[in-house]
């Protein structure tokens, strides 16, 4: 497979997942805000600052909008073309990559991406956003699911599919870590009594952002304990949006590309992802909290960046010497 094509497929996976993740975060934020309607603005403001903090886009936001408000943050993360991480930009990026590799993806996949892209530009999408924002974000999440479903059902599960999987799971692990880290931003300064009402709602919102509420409830009836939520999102072995699960899938996809067995590594990306998997497999939540949740998540994000660099280095980058020799 052409290196350029592999890179595009990888980024299609990442962009679609990022759009979905934004939609999830905003959807849940909105619902939390509605729960606290009437109470004073402090909570609401925190709720809406946190997505910005987690995406580290604060500076760009401030250059575009005068102040943090639910409307401004939603606009920034949904429709803003200036923001490369907005839903519109991510879907556009996925579509641009898909256009470049149309011959390597199925027509059905292209149609899914193109439909979502075209729809986001319509009056109808705007009207839905203004009228029923929650349904709007659902539709984006559905669009992503339809794309992944179509991909699994129509694209040969070969090299290209594996690059898409790498992008999808690396991005999903990264987003999950950011959503979890969000609570660090909220909880630390608040001094709110642990397991107070607001706290519980916030942790529930983390679960809902990851579609994890129902799965969590089945495993852990009773009070929602923060450390249990963190453990679930971070270390659960089979929940499809847990960080550990995503890293396992990433590592498996990388090994399928090279054909190397999972007990060994054929390149730097596999070495790093294999090590990350091993650490997560043998981790306990007690140790994570002792080290500091934020610090731990931060390190995971750094390690995912290094896996990303390793992957691009081995499959997508060509030294300049080759160009001129």
């Amino acid at each position: 497979m052409l290196s350029r094509v592999a890179e595009s497929l990888y980024w299609i996976g990442r962009y679609i997942e990022r759009a979905e993740s934004n939609a999830r975060m905003l959807d849940v934020n909105l619902q939390v805000t509605l729960d606290f309607e009437g109470e004073q603005g402090e909570v609401a403001l925190q709720t809406w600052s946190s997505p910005l903090a987690s995406l580290q886009d604060h500076q760009l936001f401030e250059s575009l909008f005068p102040k943090v408000s639910p409307e401004a943050v939603s606009e920034f993360l949904t429709f803003s073309e200036e923001n490369p991480n907005s839903i519109v930009s991510c879907v556009g990026g996925a579509r641009e990559n898909a256009r470049m590799v149309r011959d390597s993806i199925s027509s059905e996949m292209w149609e899914q991406i193109n439909l979502l892209h075209l729809w986001l530009g319509t009056e109808e999408a705007r009207a839905l956003f203004n009228g029923s924002t929650i349904d709007f974000y659902r539709k984006v999440v559905d669009g992503s699911h339809q794309f992944h479903g179509t991909t699994d059902a129509t694209l040969t599960h070969g090299e290209g599919w594996n690059f898409l999987q790498c992008g999808k799971f690396l991005e999903r692990a990264d987003c999950a870590s950011r959503i979890l880290d969000l609570k660090y931003h909220i909880l630390l300064p608040s001094g709110e009594e642990v397991c107070g009402n607001i706290d519980t709602v916030q942790w529930l919102s983390v679960l809902k952002s990851c579609s994890g509420y129902e799965a969590f409830r089945k495993l852990f009836p009773g009070p929602v304990l923060p450390w249990r939520v963190a453990e679930f999102i971070l270390l659960h072995d089979s929940f499809p949006r847990s960080i550990r699960f995503c890293c396992e899938q990433l590592d498996a996809a990388l090994h399928r590309i090279s054909g190397c067995d999972r007990a060994h590594f054929a390149n730097e990306a596999e070495r790093l992802s294999g090590r990350l998997c091993a650490d997560l497999n043998y981790e306990t939540i007690r140790r994570v909290f002792r080290a500091g949740l934020h610090e731990y998540l931060d390190e995971i994000q750094q390690r995912l960046i290094r896996v990303n660099n390793g992957l691009q280095e081995v499959y997508c980058r060509w030294a300049d010497e080759a160009e001129t020799s």
């Binding site: 497979m1 052409l2 290196s3 350029r4 094509v5 592999a6 641009e96 256009r99 470049m100 149309r102 011959d103 390597s104 027509s107 292209w110 149609e111 193109n114 439909l115 075209l118 090299e159 590309i257 499959y315 997508c316 060509w318 080759a322 160009e323 001129t324 020799s325």
Partner: protein, 491 residues
Amino acid sequence: MRGIQAGMEGMLGGYDTGGFYDEMFDGAGGVRPQCQALHDRLAAMSREEFDRKRQLANLTFLNQGVTFTVYSDNRGTERIFPFDLIPRIVAGSEWQHIERGLRQRITALNLFLHDVYHDQRIVKEKILPGEILRSARHFRPEFMGFDVPKGIYIHICGTDLVRGSDGVYYVLEDNARSPSGVSYVLENRHVMKRVFPKLFNRHSVRPVDVYPQELLNLLREVAPANAQAEPMVVLLTPGVFNSAYFEHAYLARAMGIEIVVGADLVVQDERVYMKTTKGLRRVDVIYRRIDDDFLDPQVFRKDSLLGVPGLVNAYRRGNVSLANSIGTGVADDKVVYHFVPEMIRFYMSEEPLLPNVPTYLSHFESDRGYILEHIEKLVIKSANESGGYGMLIGPHASSAECEEFRAAIRKDPRNYVAQPVVELSRCPSWCDGTIEGRHIDLRPYVLAGERTVIVPGGLTRVALRKGSLVVNSSQGGGSKDTWVIEEENHA
């Protein structure tokens, strides 16, 4: 002159042939036999039903991304190529004639190219003036004496045919470099089947979907002698921002070959490789959809970022084949076009089956006087422009525009030709709620390999603006599905 009112019911009621040759109605207002079934279906259809089908077709094109990029819009807006739902029908016997004529013509053009890059007998025997050859913009003297695999220069040719008021098919021009549009032939058919499934049952429409497979066979056939056992064929595109990118990706997918941009390829030791996730892989044949000028910055345009440094050298060494070959543009120069009937006589000792449109060359002093005097009645074309640019339609032009072209012709007579206005045939077309006649042309696609394959029909382009004779997509043109119908089935 008043046209004949076709006294039909339904949507075709009041249809006016306007005195032009009409593809559906004969001069007496009767329906041509090959069009009867289509005519009856249209006559029985309500406007609402037709409009619904039309919208369904447009939506299909948009959702599938069957679009071209509009350059004038800096946001790179993609538009669908307007599609007219009423097909253009070619009777089987007419098609046989066209096919024979096209085979003859492509054979002559390939013999001509071999000759101009070798002995130039055609110049020595004073059939083609040497100064016209030497001044042809796309003539590549660097390739004199160079042999291409199997002597085939033009592998893929798009020949534009028009039908005059006399009902005769004329060749308007040959596109011998990198003709585009064939994806619309395939896609239009696909959409028609989706929207009008029943019509296909009633007609015996000859299929077009073999094109990608035939093209791939051809490309594999011209692989260099030292190619791999399974030749590696790739399609080289200028990239995603090229107006025909959709077509490039479409064809690559249909053939199951890689679509590459210049940066995906690298030349080492005079061989071409592509950069893959498993390392460098040898490339044997390049179906290039990029002009000679941009192929290799070391040889042609130095500023080209689209090409591959060293590619031409690898080609010269016979380590990679290009389709079409380098230097075919000399054959579709509009001045050289004038000499194609002579080429057919000279190389093949045959009479041309498909006539040229009569052409005056301002290069010749005698013609020049006539052209300058009668410019208001003529179509003036610049020798190397395409897409409906660099062209004047005298009867539709202002006197200032005519003056501008007069000055241009005096300044550079080699680069202009003139032709009488051909009253292109018309075909019923959907025009804002009614069905009216609109002018059309036809571009069949010729694949010239060890055997010549021509997919039945081709791209019918239609000038959707009322009265317009310009069918190019950049000038308000659209397209139609083209049906070649076997006659025995409706006799």
